[in-house]
Protein backbone atom coordinates (compact mmCIF):
# COMPACT_ATOMS: atom_id res chain seq x y z
CA UNK A 1 0.00 0.00 0.00
CA UNK A 2 1.37 3.37 -0.96
CA UNK A 3 0.48 6.56 0.75
CA UNK A 4 0.66 10.02 -0.74
CA UNK A 5 0.29 13.23 1.19
CA UNK A 6 -0.74 16.23 -0.83
CA UNK A 7 -0.44 19.81 0.37
CA UNK A 8 -2.52 22.37 -1.48
CA UNK A 9 -1.85 26.05 -0.81
CA UNK A 10 -2.94 29.32 -2.37
CA UNK A 11 -0.54 30.69 -4.95
CA UNK A 12 1.68 33.58 -4.00
CA UNK A 13 -0.37 36.76 -4.08
CA UNK A 14 -3.75 35.03 -3.76
CA UNK A 15 -5.58 36.67 -0.89
CA UNK A 16 -6.11 34.23 1.96
CA UNK A 17 -8.65 35.84 4.32
CA UNK A 18 -8.85 32.75 6.55
CA UNK A 19 -5.08 32.80 7.05
CA UNK A 20 -5.10 36.52 7.69
CA UNK A 21 -7.85 36.15 10.30
CA UNK A 22 -5.99 33.37 12.13
CA UNK A 23 -2.80 35.42 12.02
CA UNK A 24 -4.59 38.42 13.52
CA UNK A 25 -5.95 36.14 16.27
CA UNK A 26 -2.42 34.97 17.11
CA UNK A 27 -1.38 38.59 17.20
CA UNK A 28 -4.23 39.40 19.58
CA UNK A 29 -3.13 36.54 21.83
CA UNK A 30 0.25 38.17 22.16
CA UNK A 31 2.32 35.84 19.96
CA UNK A 32 4.95 37.94 18.30
CA UNK A 33 7.06 37.33 15.25
CA UNK A 34 4.57 35.51 13.04
CA UNK A 35 5.30 37.12 9.68
CA UNK A 36 2.73 35.21 7.65
CA UNK A 37 0.13 32.50 8.09
CA UNK A 38 -1.39 30.59 5.18
CA UNK A 39 -4.23 28.10 5.43
CA UNK A 40 -4.39 25.36 2.82
CA UNK A 41 -5.57 21.81 2.40
CA UNK A 42 -4.09 18.48 3.31
CA UNK A 43 -5.14 15.44 1.29
CA UNK A 44 -4.02 11.90 2.04
CA UNK A 45 -4.28 9.16 -0.56
CA UNK A 46 -3.93 5.47 0.23
CA UNK A 47 -3.38 3.62 -3.02
CA UNK A 48 -2.32 0.25 -4.26
CA UNK A 49 1.20 -0.02 -5.58
CA UNK A 50 0.20 0.54 -9.19
CA UNK A 51 -0.50 4.24 -8.59
CA UNK A 52 2.60 6.13 -9.67
CA UNK A 53 3.66 9.59 -8.49
CA UNK A 54 3.05 10.80 -12.05
CA UNK A 55 -0.54 9.61 -11.81
CA UNK A 56 -0.99 11.45 -8.51
CA UNK A 57 0.41 14.61 -10.09
CA UNK A 58 -2.15 14.21 -12.85
CA UNK A 59 -4.93 13.83 -10.24
CA UNK A 60 -3.80 17.07 -8.63
CA UNK A 61 -3.70 18.98 -11.89
CA UNK A 62 -7.06 17.67 -13.03
CA UNK A 63 -9.12 17.75 -9.84
CA UNK A 64 -7.47 18.05 -6.46
CA UNK A 65 -5.95 21.49 -7.02
CA UNK A 66 -6.88 24.39 -9.28
CA UNK A 67 -3.64 25.52 -10.94
CA UNK A 68 -5.08 29.00 -11.53
CA UNK A 69 -5.15 29.74 -7.81
CA UNK A 70 -3.34 26.91 -6.05
CA UNK A 71 0.06 25.22 -5.80
CA UNK A 72 0.46 21.66 -4.66
CA UNK A 73 3.22 19.50 -3.27
CA UNK A 74 3.17 15.71 -3.16
CA UNK A 75 5.01 13.59 -0.61
CA UNK A 76 5.08 9.82 -0.77
CA UNK A 77 5.09 8.07 2.57
CA UNK A 78 5.16 4.38 3.40
CA UNK A 79 6.62 1.75 1.11
Amino acid sequence: MKQYQIFVTGKQGIFDPAGKTAQNALDNLGYEGVADLKIGKFIQLSCDDSVSPEKVKEMCEKLLANPIIEDFRIEQTGA
Partner: protein, 239 residues
Protein backbone atom coordinates in the same frame (compact mmCIF):
# COMPACT_ATOMS: atom_id res chain seq x y z
CA UNK B 1 -38.38 28.90 -26.23
CA UNK B 2 -37.30 26.12 -23.91
CA UNK B 3 -34.64 26.46 -21.23
CA UNK B 4 -32.88 23.46 -19.69
CA UNK B 5 -31.87 24.01 -16.07
CA UNK B 6 -29.19 21.58 -14.95
CA UNK B 7 -29.59 20.02 -11.51
CA UNK B 8 -26.46 18.77 -9.77
CA UNK B 9 -26.57 17.05 -6.39
CA UNK B 10 -26.59 20.05 -4.07
CA UNK B 11 -27.95 22.61 -6.52
CA UNK B 12 -30.59 24.62 -4.71
CA UNK B 13 -31.61 27.47 -7.00
CA UNK B 14 -32.96 25.38 -9.87
CA UNK B 15 -36.55 25.82 -8.73
CA UNK B 16 -36.10 29.58 -8.50
CA UNK B 17 -34.75 29.66 -12.06
CA UNK B 18 -37.50 27.45 -13.46
CA UNK B 19 -40.14 29.49 -11.61
CA UNK B 20 -38.70 32.74 -12.96
CA UNK B 21 -38.52 31.42 -16.53
CA UNK B 22 -42.11 30.14 -16.47
CA UNK B 23 -43.21 33.42 -14.88
CA UNK B 24 -41.61 35.19 -17.85
CA UNK B 25 -43.57 32.97 -20.21
CA UNK B 26 -40.95 30.44 -21.30
CA UNK B 27 -40.81 26.69 -21.09
CA UNK B 28 -38.30 25.39 -18.60
CA UNK B 29 -37.29 21.85 -17.67
CA UNK B 30 -34.94 20.31 -15.17
CA UNK B 31 -31.95 18.46 -16.62
CA UNK B 32 -30.43 15.88 -14.28
CA UNK B 33 -26.64 16.02 -14.13
CA UNK B 34 -26.39 12.48 -15.49
CA UNK B 35 -28.36 13.33 -18.62
CA UNK B 36 -26.26 13.83 -21.71
CA UNK B 37 -28.77 15.06 -24.28
CA UNK B 38 -29.20 18.83 -24.39
CA UNK B 39 -30.69 18.93 -27.89
CA UNK B 40 -34.26 19.57 -26.67
CA UNK B 41 -33.21 22.91 -25.20
CA UNK B 42 -32.67 26.34 -26.73
CA UNK B 43 -30.55 27.53 -23.80
CA UNK B 44 -28.86 25.93 -20.81
CA UNK B 45 -28.73 27.39 -17.31
CA UNK B 46 -26.36 26.13 -14.61
CA UNK B 47 -28.10 27.36 -11.46
CA UNK B 48 -26.78 28.33 -8.06
CA UNK B 49 -26.39 26.22 -4.98
CA UNK B 50 -23.76 24.01 -3.44
CA UNK B 51 -23.10 21.28 -5.98
CA UNK B 52 -21.44 18.32 -4.30
CA UNK B 53 -21.50 20.21 -1.02
CA UNK B 54 -18.92 22.70 -2.34
CA UNK B 55 -16.40 20.06 -1.28
CA UNK B 56 -12.82 20.41 -2.51
CA UNK B 57 -13.61 23.69 -4.30
CA UNK B 58 -16.91 25.19 -5.42
CA UNK B 59 -17.81 23.57 -8.73
CA UNK B 60 -14.71 21.35 -8.84
CA UNK B 61 -16.60 18.06 -8.73
CA UNK B 62 -19.69 19.15 -10.68
CA UNK B 63 -17.39 20.08 -13.52
CA UNK B 64 -16.87 16.33 -14.13
CA UNK B 65 -20.56 15.40 -14.02
CA UNK B 66 -21.71 13.45 -17.11
CA UNK B 67 -23.82 16.36 -18.36
CA UNK B 68 -20.75 18.57 -18.65
CA UNK B 69 -19.49 16.90 -21.83
CA UNK B 70 -22.79 17.85 -23.42
CA UNK B 71 -22.46 21.38 -21.99
CA UNK B 72 -18.99 21.66 -23.61
CA UNK B 73 -20.40 20.59 -26.98
CA UNK B 74 -23.35 22.95 -26.57
CA UNK B 75 -21.08 25.87 -25.69
CA UNK B 76 -18.67 25.08 -28.51
CA UNK B 77 -21.57 25.12 -30.95
CA UNK B 78 -22.15 28.75 -29.96
CA UNK B 79 -25.40 28.07 -28.16
CA UNK B 80 -26.43 29.93 -24.98
CA UNK B 81 -24.98 28.74 -21.68
CA UNK B 82 -25.51 30.87 -18.58
CA UNK B 83 -24.03 30.02 -15.19
CA UNK B 84 -25.40 31.75 -12.11
CA UNK B 85 -23.43 31.79 -8.84
CA UNK B 86 -22.41 28.15 -8.32
CA UNK B 87 -23.07 27.74 -12.06
CA UNK B 88 -20.47 30.47 -12.70
CA UNK B 89 -18.05 28.66 -10.40
CA UNK B 90 -18.62 25.44 -12.36
CA UNK B 91 -17.97 27.23 -15.67
CA UNK B 92 -14.63 28.55 -14.39
CA UNK B 93 -13.62 25.14 -13.02
CA UNK B 94 -14.53 23.70 -16.42
CA UNK B 95 -12.36 26.37 -18.11
CA UNK B 96 -15.29 27.48 -20.20
CA UNK B 97 -14.63 30.86 -18.57
CA UNK B 98 -11.27 32.15 -17.31
CA UNK B 99 -10.32 32.85 -13.71
CA UNK B 100 -11.64 31.49 -10.44
CA UNK B 101 -13.95 32.45 -7.58
CA UNK B 102 -12.24 32.81 -4.22
CA UNK B 103 -13.64 33.15 -0.75
CA UNK B 104 -15.17 36.58 -0.08
CA UNK B 105 -12.49 39.00 1.08
CA UNK B 106 -14.39 39.83 4.27
CA UNK B 107 -14.91 36.14 5.09
CA UNK B 108 -18.65 36.72 5.39
CA UNK B 109 -21.39 35.03 3.41
CA UNK B 110 -23.09 37.95 1.66
CA UNK B 111 -26.80 38.01 0.88
CA UNK B 112 -28.07 41.36 -0.36
CA UNK B 113 -29.26 43.23 -3.41
CA UNK B 114 -26.37 45.08 -5.06
CA UNK B 115 -26.05 47.63 -7.84
CA UNK B 116 -24.31 46.37 -10.97
CA UNK B 117 -23.15 48.29 -14.01
CA UNK B 118 -23.66 46.80 -17.44
CA UNK B 119 -20.38 47.08 -19.35
CA UNK B 120 -19.76 47.30 -23.08
CA UNK B 121 -19.28 43.62 -23.89
CA UNK B 122 -19.61 40.95 -26.54
CA UNK B 123 -22.10 39.03 -24.38
CA UNK B 124 -24.93 38.00 -26.65
CA UNK B 125 -27.46 37.49 -23.91
CA UNK B 126 -27.79 40.89 -22.28
CA UNK B 127 -29.52 43.51 -24.33
CA UNK B 128 -29.03 46.47 -21.99
CA UNK B 129 -27.27 49.74 -22.77
CA UNK B 130 -23.71 49.92 -21.40
CA UNK B 131 -23.76 52.06 -18.27
CA UNK B 132 -27.19 50.83 -17.21
CA UNK B 133 -27.32 50.11 -13.47
CA UNK B 134 -29.37 47.13 -12.36
CA UNK B 135 -29.99 45.90 -8.82
CA UNK B 136 -29.74 42.13 -8.41
CA UNK B 137 -29.34 40.00 -5.28
CA UNK B 138 -26.07 38.25 -4.55
CA UNK B 139 -25.96 35.28 -2.22
CA UNK B 140 -22.54 33.68 -1.86
CA UNK B 141 -19.49 32.88 0.20
CA UNK B 142 -17.07 32.41 -2.71
CA UNK B 143 -17.77 35.23 -5.15
CA UNK B 144 -14.43 36.98 -5.08
CA UNK B 145 -13.49 36.84 -8.75
CA UNK B 146 -9.82 36.33 -9.39
CA UNK B 147 -7.62 36.19 -12.47
CA UNK B 148 -4.11 37.42 -13.15
CA UNK B 149 -3.57 40.90 -14.57
CA UNK B 150 -2.74 39.60 -18.06
CA UNK B 151 -6.05 37.72 -18.16
CA UNK B 152 -7.92 40.76 -16.85
CA UNK B 153 -6.41 42.95 -19.56
CA UNK B 154 -7.39 40.38 -22.16
CA UNK B 155 -10.94 40.22 -20.80
CA UNK B 156 -11.16 43.99 -20.99
CA UNK B 157 -9.71 44.16 -24.51
CA UNK B 158 -12.03 41.43 -25.78
CA UNK B 159 -15.14 42.94 -24.21
CA UNK B 160 -15.64 39.91 -21.98
CA UNK B 161 -16.40 41.83 -18.78
CA UNK B 162 -20.19 42.00 -18.73
CA UNK B 163 -21.06 43.26 -15.25
CA UNK B 164 -19.22 45.17 -12.54
CA UNK B 165 -20.17 45.93 -8.96
CA UNK B 166 -20.68 49.68 -8.58
CA UNK B 167 -22.31 52.42 -6.55
CA UNK B 168 -26.05 53.03 -7.07
CA UNK B 169 -25.21 55.86 -9.50
CA UNK B 170 -22.97 53.62 -11.59
CA UNK B 171 -19.64 55.03 -10.38
CA UNK B 172 -16.95 52.83 -8.84
CA UNK B 173 -14.85 53.50 -5.76
CA UNK B 174 -11.09 53.86 -6.34
CA UNK B 175 -10.48 51.16 -3.73
CA UNK B 176 -13.08 48.85 -5.21
CA UNK B 177 -16.85 48.58 -5.14
CA UNK B 178 -17.20 44.82 -4.92
CA UNK B 179 -18.69 43.68 -1.61
CA UNK B 180 -16.79 40.40 -1.96
CA UNK B 181 -13.43 41.87 -2.97
CA UNK B 182 -13.69 40.78 -6.62
CA UNK B 183 -10.75 41.81 -8.79
CA UNK B 184 -11.56 44.94 -10.80
CA UNK B 185 -15.13 44.78 -9.40
CA UNK B 186 -15.93 41.95 -11.82
CA UNK B 187 -19.37 40.40 -11.23
CA UNK B 188 -19.95 38.68 -14.57
CA UNK B 189 -17.93 37.67 -17.62
CA UNK B 190 -18.46 35.87 -20.89
CA UNK B 191 -16.25 33.88 -23.25
CA UNK B 192 -14.71 35.47 -26.34
CA UNK B 193 -17.58 34.37 -28.52
CA UNK B 194 -20.08 35.87 -26.08
CA UNK B 195 -22.29 32.79 -25.81
CA UNK B 196 -21.11 31.48 -22.42
CA UNK B 197 -22.00 33.91 -19.64
CA UNK B 198 -21.24 33.50 -15.94
CA UNK B 199 -22.28 35.83 -13.15
CA UNK B 200 -22.38 35.74 -9.36
CA UNK B 201 -25.66 37.72 -8.93
CA UNK B 202 -28.99 35.89 -9.15
CA UNK B 203 -31.15 37.51 -11.85
CA UNK B 204 -33.84 34.85 -11.31
CA UNK B 205 -34.49 36.41 -7.91
CA UNK B 206 -35.36 39.72 -9.52
CA UNK B 207 -38.04 38.74 -11.98
CA UNK B 208 -41.23 39.17 -9.98
CA UNK B 209 -42.56 42.63 -9.08
CA UNK B 210 -43.85 41.30 -5.78
CA UNK B 211 -40.36 40.89 -4.36
CA UNK B 212 -39.56 44.56 -3.75
CA UNK B 213 -37.91 47.52 -5.45
CA UNK B 214 -35.89 46.81 -8.59
CA UNK B 215 -37.71 43.50 -8.42
CA UNK B 216 -37.76 42.93 -12.16
CA UNK B 217 -34.22 44.06 -13.04
CA UNK B 218 -33.22 40.42 -13.54
CA UNK B 219 -35.79 39.68 -16.23
CA UNK B 220 -33.56 41.18 -18.94
CA UNK B 221 -31.02 38.42 -18.34
CA UNK B 222 -33.49 35.86 -19.67
CA UNK B 223 -35.61 37.84 -22.13
CA UNK B 224 -32.52 38.75 -24.18
CA UNK B 225 -31.63 35.07 -24.63
CA UNK B 226 -35.16 34.30 -25.70
CA UNK B 227 -35.24 37.22 -28.11
CA UNK B 228 -31.98 36.21 -29.78
CA UNK B 229 -32.17 32.48 -29.71
CA UNK B 230 -34.79 32.03 -32.40
CA UNK B 231 -32.71 33.55 -35.16
CA UNK B 232 -29.52 32.19 -33.62
CA UNK B 233 -30.80 28.62 -33.56
CA UNK B 234 -31.64 28.91 -37.25
CA UNK B 235 -28.18 30.20 -38.07
CA UNK B 236 -26.21 27.66 -36.02
CA UNK B 237 -28.31 24.54 -36.32
CA UNK B 238 -30.13 25.13 -39.57
CA UNK B 239 -33.31 24.45 -37.62
Amino acid sequence: MRFGVVVFPGSNCEQDVVHALRHLGYEASYVWHQDTDLEPYDAIVLPGGFSYGDYLRCGAVARFSPVMDAVFAYANAGRPVIGICNGFQILTEAHLLPGALLRNAGLKFICESVPLRVEQSVCQWLNLEPGTVVHIPINHNEGNYFCDEATRAQLEANGQIVLRYCNPDGTRNPDGSAPNGAFDDIAGICNERGNVFGLMPHPERATDGLSGSHATDGAAFFTAIAAQVGSYAKEVCGA
